[in-house]
């Protein structure tokens, strides 16, 4: 017999027991019987409320932490109201230092260095970008290198084409 069936049976027997008691012929009898029926349920209600409160608290804390994480990264361009994380990858086994430089970090080569993972020479960085049109390039040991995985931008005034990323 399942726990639920056993609990229902117990509630039913208690309600029957209350019904067998002598009646006074007033509202107190109805209250007494209904209290017997709902005694277990009222206990479960408190348990459910506590569980709901715990879940709500978890959601609030998680949302707070997520907001904290998503507002990190390069300073958003003024006027943009949303951002999202983007991963940038450069493969260069021979490179010694790689950084991500673009309109999202004021073209500062020190702002977003890529980290090398393993000996294969895969460099990567995950940064938060505000919505909009961004141009960028990798700076590899002082050389400017476009991102092969991204569309090429129009700019070439300074001798090197940039890559473009659009963030919604």
């Amino acid at each position: 017999m399942s726990e639920s069936t056993s609990r229902n049976r117990h509630t039913f027997e208690r309600a029957v027991e209350e019904l067998r008691r002598p009646a006074h012929g007033d509202d107190r009898d109805v209250t007494r019987i209904m209290r017997a029926v709902y005694r277990d349920r009222s206990g479960r209600w408190w348990w459910r409320a506590a569980a709901a409160a715990a879940i709500a608290a978890t959601i609030i804390v998680t949302a707070g932490l997520w907001r904290l994480v998503t507002t990190e990264g390069p300073r958003p361009v003024a006027g943009h109201d949303s951002s999202s994380f983007v991963q940038f990858v450069y493969v260069g086994p021979e490179a010694h230092a790689v950084s991500l430089v673009g309109s999202f970090n004021d073209w500062d080569p020190r702002a977003n260095p890529l980290q090398r993972d393993g000996r294969a020479g895969v460099w990567s960085a995950e940064i938060s970008l505000p919505s909009g049109h961004h141009e960028y390039a990798f700076n590899v040991d002082g050389r400017w290198v476009p991102d092969d995985d991204a569309p090429t931008g129009a700019s070439d005034e300074f001798g090197v084409t940039n890559s473009v990323i659009l963030v919604q």
Binding site: V77, A78, G79, S84, V86, V101, S103, D106, W107, D108, P109, L129, S131, G132, H133, E135, W144, A150, P151, T152, G153, A154, S155, E157, F158, G159, V160, T161, N162, V164, I165, L166, V167, Q168
Partner: protein, 214 residues
Amino acid sequence: MLRRNISNAALLTMLTGATLAAQQSDARLVGRLSRSAVDSVTALTGHATARGLPIEPLIQKALEGQSKGAEDRLILRAVEDLLDRLNRASAALGDDADDSELVAAAGAMHLGVSTGTLQNVVAAYRDQSLAVPLVVLTDMIRKGVAVPTASSVIVQLVEARVDIESLQRFRRLVERDISSGAAPGEAAIIRARGALLERQRGFSPPAPEWRPLF
């Protein structure tokens, strides 16, 4: 006569100085560009503001030039050219265009895309982000597709209401074909035909879960 010219010049200099002083220089420029370059860029951003154009792309262009080691003269010319293209892009796209669309349109114009092409894209894609087809157009031209061919292809795709995800897919396929040795123009035309057929059949590839469009 000479005295009057000198006093006019002095007045002009004072007025220019007062105007520059009134326009606060962007703090990011100070220390990275020479004082005169900062003043010139500030004057150009002032013009942009007066015309309702975004100034951030101009600031970023100046910072890009400094970061890439360009001389002041080259930086100022690049910022000036960008201001001119933003102005023309704004006229072509209309008042509803956002900053991303203006920058994308200015980029396409830099490579020779006509105002007429931009206006056709606007007319066909008014309710979608114009930045996406314009970035695809620019990328195609950069990959070697002739401007008239690339312009024609993009206008046909947006007139057929090919969606943003399909445009992204189209760009990647053209890029892959060119990398594999296909002639750029042929790759663009063949892949555009495929995108149009998919549109007719109602095929729509799944939308990417990540938010960046490229």
